[in-house]
Subunit: 363 residues, 2 copies
């Protein structure tokens, strides 16, 4: 089965709902694990990498949640397929660049994905919509327990799970959530929030994780420490901080509407005007403007229009997803044209935003 | 009578048509003259300035074309009135800053205006819509002849008319036209055009003349030399060069549409999107975007919409004209909000531009 036929449609992705999804778009837990009797992927020669792959892949596939999973060696994926997977946050950019001996096993509903021979032998993640870190952790914890019955993980009584990079040593866990924070960005409070969150030992990153820009006002908040702290405690701590950031974002929006309503309306109006009338637009500009459109929907400025429209466009306008809809091989310039065509078409039925937020608050 | 009641409405201004007005918005001829027996305004003490004013004003008012003219001393005009006059190109910014002893006489239809005690005792201009330099010169020439029957102008047999600045010596004439050149700007050919025009001894300037920026892709082309060349010859030469610039602009538009239609559509679409959805917009951005909207109308992208709509907005969105429509004293920030409100309202009935230029060319 081709990857494209396997993947959930962007529309379906966008329709998935979760708690607090007005601000938190997704929750993720990933675990780093390694086989105890083979060298870590970074140092392993090709035969050892293949050997690891041969042992891990069937073990992962055999778990009940992986029934009818998509399972493939990375080198057998086209660059377009890999890009689509990156855009859906199902593999890392690093994994996409790997050769033979690296692989992916992806559950039918895209909730669980396992990268084989990325930085560690196993990078397994669970991904759920909205803010549900506990549930995401529960799924991943169970998955990890089942898998450990089948594979001997490198584990040290004192240090915990051994990993290629010491920053993952111990629990090997990274818990994260994606937050849409246009209010804090418009209010110019985001720098301060990042500082405060950092002081609590948590990291704030861009849309595609470490070292990436926060396009579309979307930020990833995750734990930094993996050593000396229990997984449940990490999840709890993160949930608490994210709860506070949500509150700050809600406050920022309320403050903006109260003190600078015209600034908000100006940003949203211009975003709408450009998105529905441009004939060429980059991915970056699109994300930043869609973010403002999403804010407008949250504020009730587009009555009758569902946020799912914007969430679907967030995915459909990414370079890989755009290429997927075309039979020609698109250059960056072509994509900018197609992206604009798609946006004009999809937004044709969306009327101009209201001139003021609706009485009684957002829809 | 208040100036505001005297002035032709912006709508009426915008409805005025002239030859080639798709590209040439107006033609202007101004003459610099001085009384032979009084010191030039720059050196004159106040009594001499007042004496000049007392002699010039009734002489100008007595000419038949000045029947029911608006005539006022500059110091009796409010700063808003002066700004309105500058925005209509009826007085210079310099004249607006003058004190007692400087004045303005303006014909009923705003075609002829005479500034008294600006840089010279008399700066008289005729202003017509579209490209009609010969007719504008004919009007000004006749006016000058009539006035010379009543006032003794400083004239030297060898040098011609004497002026405060040697750059005006001789004929004292400045012939100019305002050209809307978005095609040459988009095509990045404007620099080359300016060079070529300069080589022919003509000047290219911005919207408000010397030292001003070319907002809204509007450029003023005028003669530099006033000495040693007959007025008719200057008018002819300018008309020829402007004819060539018009041709270049038409070619630029055709080339853009043929080679980069998406670039043109993108600029026009975005301009339309922003103008009809912004809640705050500066005068400069407005002019630049209205210029693109005007180009879109020229290209037939807005069927059923008349260019007069844009031409009126060009005037109505200027700071002074905006203030005129309000009873409050507007700050720059207030004006940006009012300007955006007006644009959204006026453009509410304008549908999104067509996705391609109409078959058979522009309307």
């Amino acid at each position: 089965m081709k990857l494209f036929e396997f993947l959930v449609s962007p529309a379906e992705c966008a329709r998935r709902r979760g708690p607090e999804d007005r601000i938190v778009t997704s929750s993720r837990v990933r675990l780093a694990r390694n086989l105890k009797d083979l060298p870590f992927p970074v140092w392993a020669k090709k035969p050892d990498r293949l050997r690891a792959m041969e042992r891990i892949r069937p073990a992962v596939e055999s778990l009940p949640v992986m029934k009818d999973a998509y399972s493939e060696s990375i080198d057998r994926l086209s660059s377009l397929e890999k890009q689509i997977l990156v855009e859906r946050h199902l593999i890392s950019r690093e994994q996409a660049a790997k050769g033979p001996g690296s692989g992916l096993v992806l559950s039918r509903d895209e909730t669980i994905s396992v990268m084989i021979n990325e930085e560690d032998h196993l990078r397994m993640q669970a991904l759920l919509p909205g803010l549900q870190l506990k549930e995401t952790w529960r799924i991943m914890d169970q998955f990890d327990t089942r898998l450990e019955e089948k594979l001997p993980f490198a584990f040290d009584r004192k240090l915990g799970y051994l990993t290629a990079c010491p920053t993952n040593l111990g629990t090997g866990i990274r818990v994260s959530a994606m937050l849409h924070l246009p209010g804090l960005v418009l209010n110019e409070n985001m720098g301060q929030i990042i500082q405060s969150v950092n002081k609590l030992g948590l990291a704030v990153r861009g849309l595609y994780g470490e070292g990436t820009e926060a396009f579309g006002n979307i930020f990833q908040i995750s734990n930094q420490r993996t050593l000396g702290e229990d997984e449940n405690r990490i999840v709890q701590r993160l949930e608490k901080v994210i709860g506070q950031v949500i509150e700050h974002e809600e406050n920022a929006r309320a403050t903006l509407l109260e003190r600078k309503p015209k600034v908000v309306l100006n940003h949203i109006g211009r975003a709408y005007g450009i998105l529905s009338n441009a004939h060429s637009i980059s991915s970056k500009e699109t994300m930043n403007l869609l973010s403002l459109l999403r804010l407008g929907m949250d504020l009730g400025l587009f009555p009758g229009i569902e946020r799912v429209l914007v969430d679907e466009l967030f995915l459909l306008t990414q370079p890989g997803h755009l290429q997927l809809q075309s039979t020609d091989n698109l250059s960056a310039e072509d994509r900018d044209l197609r992206r604009a065509d798609m946006l004009r078409e999809r937004l044709a039925g969306v009327k101009r935003p209201l001139d003021r937020p609706r009485e009684g608050g957002p829809a």
